[in-house]
Structure formats: structure tokens, C-alpha cells
């Protein structure tokens, strides 16, 4: 049995102090030193042993962020590790899973890297893609379901988006930037502007997709997200279009959404109380 010459601190203060040293964050502990908390020996000092954990803390979180934002990491290049370290210093992980780690990154970039708006825009798109990856699987409405719906009550057709979707507004050019980085290019940074670019992001089976949409389609999808009927979509469009044109346009959208796998089957709507 080994007896230590260190003072025995309560467990809670030991853990607080050790975590403070590893993460370099200010918790409720007095400033500790590695030598107070960790037993050094001839093989390695207390400080050297602590450094192993400090290094692994940042490396592990940077690696998790790179997995969630692979194209942002490619755009930033060698500086991504430094960016990740600064981010986790401000937004440390507070969940057992690293899944949520990247959620605040786009907002953080918008605040801390204002002169590079493409970073926040790309992060917002990549986070939406990462976010839908493992959301709930829903049965989808099919084109056959649409055809089977009685024509006389088609306007009452209740709609809902599948759970695995996100409606995203980013700076214009983010989608083109995402494509360019994927294709190996990185010379399109200047195309990101303050003009909003609207996207719908969704997962069908195991593949994640996104598509740039105009303001009208974004508005219609927002209505569907809120549980609107097909008739409500037509009504919104009829403000600027003749009634027949409004119905035609709404039906064209609906056909695309159903083909994409964006619309949930009736069972899902019933479960949500829709």
C-alpha cells in the first residue's frame, strides 16, 4: 500500500481543480498547481503528466469538430486546430455526447470571425447537415398516397415535414462554397455576400441532402413545418397569383417535396397530434 505525502483534499475539490487545469477554465476552485494534485516521479513530473491530458482534451474536441464540419476544416486548413481550441474555450462541452459540441459554432464564428463571413455561413450549413444525420426516421408520404387522396378534399390534405429536416438561412454563396470545397476548389471565398440564401436540408434513408430554395418556397415549407394543409399553401400563393396558377405552383412544390422524401406519412402526423 502506498502512502502519499500530499494533503488529502475532498474529492469534489480535487476533481474541480484537476478539470480546471486540464481545460484551462475558471471553475469554483482556487488556483491549483499540478504538483499539488498530481504525483510526479522520476519517470515524469506532475506537470508533464498533466500536459498529456491537456493536449488530449483539445485534440479530442478539435477532432470531433472536424468530423462535424469537414469542409469548414478544409477551408480553414492548418489553423483549424487553433480555431477549435479558441471555440471550446468559449463553448466547452457540457453533454455526455460530443454530438452537440458543434451546435454553437456558427454563431461563435459570426461573432469572432466577422471579417470572414464565409466561415459562419459554411458552418451553419454543415451543422444542419450533421444535425439531421441521426434524427428520427419517419415514414414518408409517397406519390401514390397523393394520387389516392380524393380530389374534392385535396385542399384539406394535412402536411408535415419529416423530423430529419432543417430550414436554414445563410449568407448567399454558402451552398456554392460547400460544393467548391467538395470538388477540391477553394477560390470561391468572395462569393459569400450579405444577401440571404435559403436552404432546405434533409435526410432520406442514409443520405443527407440540401437544396437552395427561393423565399416563396421557404415560406411555404415553413407553413408545412407548422402543420399547414395543402389549401393553406395555395391560399398564401394566391396573394400574388391567379387561383389556378397558385394551385399549380403549390402542387409542383408538393410533388418535389414528396419525391425528395421531405413529407411525413399520415401516421407520423397523427402521432404528433397533427
Amino acid at each position: 500500500m502506498r502512502r502519499e505525502r500530499h494533503v488529502r483534499a475532498p474529492l469534489v475539490s480535487t476533481q474541480t481543480s484537476v478539470l480546471k487545469l486540464i481545460t484551462a477554465r475558471r471553475l469554483d476552485a482556487r488556483d491549483p498547481s499540478a504538483a499539488d494534485l498530481i504525483v510526479g516521479d522520476a519517470r515524469a513530473s506532475a506537470a508533464a503528466r498533466l500536459d498529456v491530458y491537456r493536449h488530449m482534451y483539445v485534440a479530442r474536441l478539435a477532432e470531433a469538430l472536424e468530423a462535424q464540419f469537414p469542409r469548414l476544416a478544409r477551408l480553414v486548413g492548418d489553423d483549424f486546430h487553433e480555431l477549435a481550441a479558441a471555440f471550446v474555450d468559449d463553448e466547452p462541452s457540457i453533454r455526455p455526447s460530443l454530438r452537440e459540441l458543434g451546435r454553437p459554432l456558427a454563431a461563435w464564428l459570426a461573432e469572432h470571425r466577422r471579417d470572414e463571413p464565409e466561415l459562419a455561413a459554411l458552418a451553419r450549413l454543415e451543422w444542419a447537415r450533421a444535425d439531421v444525420f441521426d434524427l428520427e426516421d419517419d415514414p414518408q408520404l409517397t406519390l401514390d398516397d397523393l394520387r389516392a387522396w380524393p380530389a374534392e378534399t385535396f385542399g384539406e390534405l394535412p402536411l408535415a415535414l419529416v423530423t430529419a429536416h432543417r430550414l436554414v438561412v445563410v449568407s448567399s454563396g454558402a451552398a456554392a462554397l460547400w460544393d467548391a470545397i467538395g470538388a477540391g476548389g477553394a477560390d470561391v471565398l468572395a462569393i459569400v455576400s450579405d444577401v440571404p440564401e435559403r436552404l432546405v436540408v434533409w435526410r432520406e434513408d442514409v443520405a443527407v441532402y440540401h437544396r437552395v430554395i427561393d423565399a416563396d418556397e421557404h415560406g411555404a415549407l415553413a407553413l408545412v413545418e407548422a402543420g399547414a394543409s395543402f389549401g393553406a399553401i395555395c391560399e398564401r400563393l394566391s396573394v400574388g397569383l391567379a387561383p389556378d396558377d397558385a394551385v399549380a405552383r403549390a402542387f409542383a412544390w408538393l410533388s418535389t417535396w414528396v419525391s425528395d422524401g421531405l413529407i411525413a406519412a399520415p401516421r407520423v402526423r397523427a402521432r404528433r397530434g397533427g
Binding site: M1, R2, R3, E4, H6, V7, R8, A9, L11, V12, T14, Q15, T16, V18, L19, K20, I22, T23, R25, L27, D28, D36, L37, I38, V39, D41, R43, A44, A46, A48, R49, L50, V52, Y53, M56, Y57, R60, L61, A64, P92, S93, I94, R95, P96, S97, L98, R99, V132, F133, D134, L135, E136, D137, T163, A164, R203, V206
Partner: protein, 286 residues
């Protein structure tokens, strides 16, 4: 003799960690592996690809759940939401068992996402035992705790890790996941005798063995899970099997994940070492 004591966990044979790089191969080829271990947190999600893959693999293989975020030794309150999600996953997967680590990783809600060692002493022991009992009650099953690899010993300890782990297992009536590579790494880093560690393990409570690779960084060995198992660890594994008898064994390889065939070859080595194969014999087989 220890071998005559019946273990508390079934013998599953030799398994591998199910990693994303091999999803397609496992689903398409159904390789001749006895069982798979999955990282619980990777599948504690509502749906999508992770759950589809796990459900498909579970149809063909026994699966065990291995967590990294239970933080059993933390002084923070038990994360009830995490426990709920783990319990739900266990109900869905019906794993052969559920394991996590003898460690802590959170303080004041902040998560280091690391497996930090406790100061091995009585108050920590009582704390861990009480939390293990609570987790086991919630899950309705006995869990296994794995010995972590470590690079520091916290001040104020008056027990060795192997004494602490064995005593937690006895008092809380839980199992042990014996990571032989971690024993080797920590023995090197802290200067203890790895054979003494193995000898202290209550045989009936050791339900599973982990094997992995490590690297040397300066004076310390780092548990990286990105290398083949080294000969010293194979020898220690053979010693463990000689002491414990057959134990469900798996290879952990989590970074720079190689082709599936490389992992299958490591499992073949495990079989040879477990059956008492000499070093030279195993090397010739390679």
C-alpha cells in the same frame, strides 16, 4: 483454483469493435467474428444511419454496449438523461452486457470527454460503489467497469488501482472489463507490476478483455488504439487467460482504422496466444 469459479458473464468468444469504416463490409459480408462491441454514445440517437446499422448487425451477432461517458466516479450528480437514454438503448439492443470505465470526466457540468483516474481511497470507493449500484438498478442488469489507462496518479491515494477495482466489483456486485493493454500502459507509466494487477482480479467478475495498441511518447506510454497489439501485451494477455480461463476478448482499434482483415488477423493472434502459443510460433504465423 480460480478457473473452477464460474464467471458471472457468458463466454462470447472473440469480437471486434464495430467502427464506421467497416459498416458496409460487416453488413454485406457477415464476417466470421463471434460478436461486436459498440460505443454506446454513438448509438444513443433517435434514428438515422447509426441505429439502422446497429439493428442490422444485432440481427446477426451478439452485441455488447461499451460507454465512455457514464463518469461513474464524478462528484457531479448522475446524469439522469444519459441514464434514461442508455437504458432505452439497452432495451432496444438487448446486449450481452453493458460496460463503461472506472473513471470520472465531469466537474460542475463541464465534460472533459476523458477517462480520468480517481484518487484510489476509501471515500472514492464508497462513492463509486453507491453510483454503480444505482446504475445497475436503473438498467436492471449488472454492468462491467474497465480499468482505464492513465498518465497521472492523483494525490491523496492510499490504494493501488487493482485493489480499488477489485473492491468496487465485490461491494457493488458488478463485473470487470479487464483491458490488458491499459494494465501494461499504466504499469509502465506508474511503475507497478502488471502481473500483480492481473493476480488481484477476482476471476469470476472478469467478463471481458480488451486488447489494443499504444505508442511511446517520451517517458510515457500513450493508449492510442491505432497500432497492432505489441508482443509484451500479448504475453500479458496469455498470462491473464492462464489465470482466468477463457474470456470474451476483443480488439480495440479506433484511430487510423485498418482494413477489416488486419483486425481479423489480430483476433487470430489472440486465439493463438490464448491457447498458449509461443512468441516464435505466433510470429511465424504472421
Amino acid at each position: 483454483m480460480p478457473k473452477t469459479i464460474a464467471p458471472l458473464f457468458p463466454y462470447l468468444g472473440r469480437g471486434l469493435g464495430l467502427r464506421r469504416e467497416h459498416y458496409r463490409h460487416v453488413l454485406d459480408s457477415k464476417p466470421a467474428v463471434d460478436w461486436f462491441e459498440v460505443i454506446s454514445e454513438n448509438f444513443m440517437v433517435a434514428g438515422g444511419n447509426p441505429r439502422r446499422v446497429l439493428e442490422a448487425v444485432r440481427r446477426d451477432y451478439p452485441v455488447v454496449l461499451h460507454g465512455v461517458s457514464l463518469s461513474i466516479g464524478s462528484m457531479d450528480p448522475v446524469d439522469e438523461r444519459y441514464l434514461d437514454e442508455l437504458a432505452a438503448l439497452a432495451r432496444a439492443v438487448e446486449p450481452a452486457w453493458v460496460s463503461d470505465h472506472l473513471c470520472w470526466g465531469t466537474a460542475h457540468g463541464l465534460n472533459a470527454h476523458d477517462l480520468l483516474p480517481l484518487p484510489y481511497r476509501e471515500d472514492a470507493l464508497e462513492h463509486v460503489v453507491q453510483r454503480v449500484e444505482r446504475v445497475q438498478e436503473r438498467l436492471g442488469r449488472r454492468i462491467l467497469l474497465e480499468n482505464p489507462s492513465s498518465y497521472m496518479r492523483l494525490a491523496g491515494a492510499d490504494m493501488e488501482e487493482h485493489e480499488f477495482l477489485a473492491e468496487v466489483a465485490r461491494r457493488a456486485d458488478c463485473g470487470i472489463l479487464l483491458d490488458v493493454n491499459n494494465v501494461y500502459v499504466s504499469a509502465h507509466n506508474h511503475g507497478f507490476d502488471p502481473s500483480a494487477y492481473l493476480a488481484a482480479m477476482p476471476p469470476e467478475r472478469v467478463g471481458q478483455i480488451h486488447l489494443a495498441g499504444h505508442v511511446a511518447e517520451g517517458p510515457l506510454l500513450i493508449d492510442t488504439h491505432d497500432e497492432p497489439v505489441c508482443d509484451d501485451v500479448w504475453r500479458l494477455y496469455a498470462e491473464a487467460i492462464a489465470r482466468l480461463g477463457p474470456r470474451s476478448t476483443m480488439i480495440e482499434w479506433d484511430a487510423h482504422v485498418p482494413a477489416f482483415e488486419v483486425l481479423e488477423r489480430e483476433l487470430d493472434f489472440a486465439a493463438r496466444w490464448a491457447s498458449g502459443g509461443a512468441d516464435a510460433e505466433v510470429r511465424r504465423a504472421a
